[in-house]
């Protein structure tokens, strides 16, 4: 089954080789933008787009880049793509662009992108590199969306800004957990995801 094999770069990063919880890349932005679901979704789309195109571009140039200056070439390619994403967001979704503040710019230094460029795009043809970019972007997105789902549900009682718990709950004494909104809780939610994920995939456990 040849076509099945060609989709390995797309499927693997979703769980078994997830960039956030297995490769431990791109933690910074994964934690900082997850207090609400909407910025998390926008961030996922931005990272996936930048990653896929950067992978393709670097993969096309892989034979012409001298290895001594490859980091700088990669940074310039990624920075150019991020500038485009930043300008598009400012034009079409200014509110979210404000909420993400510097984190769009920080996609440049997102370790997932540098990591995938180094590990995959430099040694593979453009099409697998493109699939790898999409796969890793989505793998990153899954974690972002799970974390932001719990943080927004428990912290603000909403999903995408719509109220979930009826008012009668609040009258009966239910309170939103303000702690979930605070940054440190993102780390603990991710740790719980790692816990569940590694209990299922025993081969990933350390020692």
């Amino acid at each position: 089954m040849n076509w099945k094999k060609s989709f390995i770069p797309l499927v693997n990063p979703l769980s078994k080789d997830n960039p956030v919880i297995v490769q431990i890349l791109g933690i910074c932005s994964a934690l900082a933008v997850t207090a609400k679901m909407e910025p998390a979704v926008v961030m996922t789309i931005s990272v996936t787009a930048v990653l896929a195109f950067a992978n393709v571009i670097i993969s096309l140039m892989r034979k012409t880049i001298p290895s001594s200056i490859r980091i700088i070439v990669q940074l310039v390619v990624v920075a150019a793509l991020v500038v485009i994403v930043d300008q598009v967001l400012k034009a079409y979704n200014y509110e979210v662009s404000k909420a993400l503040s510097v984190f769009i710019g920080l996609i440049i230094t997102n370790c997932i992108i540098m990591g995938r460029l180094e590990a995959f795009a430099l040694n593979n043809r453009p099409w697998p590199a493109f699939l790898d970019g999409i796969g890793n972007g989505l793998g990153y997105g899954i974690i972002l969306i799970i974390v932001s789902f719990f943080r927004e549900l428990l912290g603000s009682g909403t999903i995408f800004g719509c109220q979930i718990f009826p008012d009668s709950f609040y009258q009966a004494g239910y309170m939103n957990n303000g702690l979930m909104i605070l940054p440190p809780m993102a780390l603990i939610v991710v740790a719980c995801i790692i816990w569940v994920h590694r209990s299922v995939n025993k081969d990933l456990q350390e020692k």
Partner: protein, 204 residues
């Protein structure tokens, strides 16, 4: 006085790790023992200390809308702030390259102990993050930017050294198998973040 306030704020309250999660990748990867962690922290502080005033000048005299007016009247309207990201990352990459050469020349011992993590400072989010925050907050002069850089760097150094010390002790404790390694490090960082939040609201 204001600068002192900013300095204390950027170390404890707006800590790069615990408040913004910047520089997490190397933070998690290099915090296995205190000595290397401390060395990396010093290097990051040093890069921040130089990168911030340099990029403040770039932002002020090249990038801001109307910043090019010193070139002549016809440039007074020019706005090239969209080039900011590329300029800043280029400055940081160049600085790290220079720092690497200087350290290799004058203190080979430190150079060897840092190894691969020295060039990786270029893609440490804490540095680009601090530069972008500096741009966003519109500091009024280069001195304020330097103070902010020093504060953020020392905050990062403090965080990574503390975590490395805890992780050294952790080797002797019983952790549930799925949490070993990364998982428990995340939880510890989260708890440390909650502890650092007790500094909120301190004013000088």
């Amino acid at each position: 006085m204001e600068n002192l306030n900013l300095f204390i704020r950027s170390i404890f309250i707006d800590n790069m790790i615990f408040a913004y999660f910047l520089g997490m990748c190397s933070f998690l990867a290099v915090s296995k023992n205190v000595k290397t962690a401390f060395g990396l922290g010093v290097a990051v502080t040093f890069v921040l200390l130089i990168a911030l005033p340099v990029s403040w000048c770039i932002n002020e005299y090249l990038l801001k809308p109307g910043a090019l007016s010193w070139l002549g009247k016809e440039y007074a309207e020019t706005d090239i702030s969209f080039l900011g990201l590329i300029m800043f990352i280029a400055v940081i990459a160049a600085l790290v390259q220079i720092l690497e050469m200087v350290i290799e020349k004058y203190t080979p011992a430190l150079y060897n102990s840092l190894g691969i993590f020295l060039p990786l400072i270029a893609v440490n989010c804490a540095i680009l993050g601090a530069v972008l925050f500096m741009q966003q907050r519109e500091f009024s002069n280069a001195w304020t930017a330097t103070v902010y850089g020093a504060g953020s760097g020392i905050g990062w150094l403090l965080a990574i050294t503390c975590l490395a010390a805890i992780r050294e002790r952790l080797d002797n404790s019983k952790v549930p198998a799925p949490l070993r390694g990364v998982g428990i490090t995340f939880i510890i960082t989260g708890l440390m973040g909650i502890a650092f939040m007790s500094f909120l609201g301190i004013k000088l």
